[in-house]
Symmetry: C2
Subunit: 416 residues, 2 copies
Amino acid sequence: MSSELSPSPLAPARFPDLPAVAGVRLATSATGLRYKGRDDLLICEVIEGTTVAGTLTTSKTCSAAVDWCKKALVGGAARGLIVNSGNANAFTGKAGEQVVETCVSAVADQLACRPSRVFCASTGVIGQQLPAEAIVSHVGSAWARMEDSNADLWHKAAKAIMTTDTFAKGAGQTVKIGDADVHIAGIAKGSGMIAPDMATMLAFIFTDAALPAPLLQELFSPAVARSFNAITVDSDTSTSDTALLMATAAAPGQPSIASAEDPLLDDFRQALDAVLLDLAQQIVRDGEGATKFISITVTGAETDIAARRIGLSIANSPLVKTAIAGEDANWGRIVMAVGKSGEMADRDKLAIEIGGYAVARAGMAVDGFDETPVAAHMKNQEIDISVDVGIADGRATVWTCDLTHGYISINADYRS
Amino acid sequence: MSSELSPSPLAPARFPDLPAVAGVRLATSATGLRYKGRDDLLICEVIEGTTVAGTLTTSKTCSAAVDWCKKALVGGAARGLIVNSGNANAFTGKAGEQVVETCVSAVADQLACRPSRVFCASTGVIGQQLPAEAIVSHVGSAWARMEDSNADLWHKAAKAIMTTDTFAKGAGQTVKIGDADVHIAGIAKGSGMIAPDMATMLAFIFTDAALPAPLLQELFSPAVARSFNAITVDSDTSTSDTALLMATAAAPGQPSIASAEDPLLDDFRQALDAVLLDLAQQIVRDGEGATKFISITVTGAETDIAARRIGLSIANSPLVKTAIAGEDANWGRIVMAVGKSGEMADRDKLAIEIGGYAVARAGMAVDGFDETPVAAHMKNQEIDISVDVGIADGRATVWTCDLTHGYISINADYRS
């Protein structure tokens, strides 16, 4: 459990000061369901008129909460969110679906809204029944304590959704849309069972921008592809992965925006990308047992998608990840991982750089290769790998961490 | 290196007595290229008229030796084989191709045959130039010492092709084709960088059966699918994977066989399957750091291929493998791995057994689940997992090992 683990060596120095987002109110609570002496329940109210976009796990064994959110997203409107940690309510059959309905209805009752406007997520142990009463009995008191979002509350919210995380994860931005100041605040959790192509673990991002739901999804999907779907810790995909973006429209003085291509949105899009990427990279920095943060850039691939697949093949290779843990610039294993990706690569044009130093070119070790500067780079906490596969112009960057004894210790002992 | 590692706890008690295969002669030699005080070169002569079948890595960065074998297989005829361990001659550019031609030609000269009748394989470190002279200078003396295959020579041959293996791997059978006694002897190596769908590491199987090359391939391909392509250690695919089956036709008194469906081949097919499965399972038993041998049977899948993909998704999951290392019957991670496989599964019909005990049924934990017998099973060296995904009749069995601190230690320190 998180309390037993010391913070990741890759953790940021402190939780950032996230901006207040107009139209978002928060409260956290301690149910005592699994964790002692810490909050494990997050409840949010967003004002009438809030739009919502989301991406959810593609797992064929997804949780009841994921099924609920998929249906609720169709409406594009949100009024509330309820999240608990410690029990994922996954693989719990019809009873698990009932638990979702009970919890969501308890929030909808407070809001006097339709249940389909309330979103939910559960994270923690799979296969154990979640006693709805233990959650529902806290909704009323939490509601009474609810306050407008602020830096302190965001920090509490980020802590309440943690499981094996060793630090709370948040990122925020303030940008202009036209002349209006618009805010973005996001929190996330995740540490193991992290793999891409399936959204992420849990991430909730709020903004007071005024954006119709289809447009919000149009902004969110590509940003998720470049962030949460470009990270991997262990290639294992959660049954509960959920990323939601809610827009309250409550920042005053905003121009009306009808298209995602509107130039007025340029700064907002960049800020949203930055928040998602920051959160995604924080998840990698909290990868179970991680001691190195690894950036892998692939160029020269057939397409951008092919580049991402090659990058993830490298990022998921146990042999690459253990070599980096051992501070060994073993580029032969990178070659292997490119080869097994299934994507086009020209073995005899392949080039590899580590830490900016060429180690292989034209399909073989560089002439008179001096390993000294590369070996020095391998001792850093931040490792950079670039691979050009020599086919076309596709490119992508993905992020991962190393595979260490710490990962084995955490996962051979902890039932998650 | 192998000499530093103690034998796997899952190793067989002893190397089996493999039968003499008529028409096969062998010699081993120590080049001193990488390993001190052990043989690292294997040379085989097979008599005129020998047919050959093979499967090779699908890696896009395959080695020069793999490229050579792919071309040579087109002819369907073999006269010789040369294998070295310690240097994979992979990712070595044009120079690496030249090394293959030089080594193969040295053997072809001894046989006075075309080079395209000589097969080759190299295994070991990737990305280092292999000095051909160090190999070629041993061919003549090895040739002079060559003897008809026998139990002792098979054992020596299996040892000569080892790299990080902790034990030599062999399997053999003697069966009837019609009234003729026919022999099968196979050797293999492999321990890490083992993933399926791409043949295996190295495996060489010899028989004195009389079978035309297309028929031999027809027998070999499905047998490889059920054996070498149904195992995984770490999901990483070698650049050098090679499996070859050579048939000398030298056993006396054999009937003529024109079709793989001939009932006279039934016993031979079963024996060949048994030899390949035995070799494949020995590779899993020597998985780097392995302490548990895990059999995973998937039923109820859309097709047999879907069942195999689901099985491999479970077998490759770091979270499943670490849970088994920790002797934790964490079936929630099995659910997760089924879900991420991408194959059809009915979450609400999913059933899981561990060690023959039902742990989940109809998409949730079994009523009144008693973990005691399951926990006892988890302490065994041999772990059995069965999953029914509730869709149709597809089924498959795959094999893997657990993921332990030993894997991390071996791969964070050893440059392979």
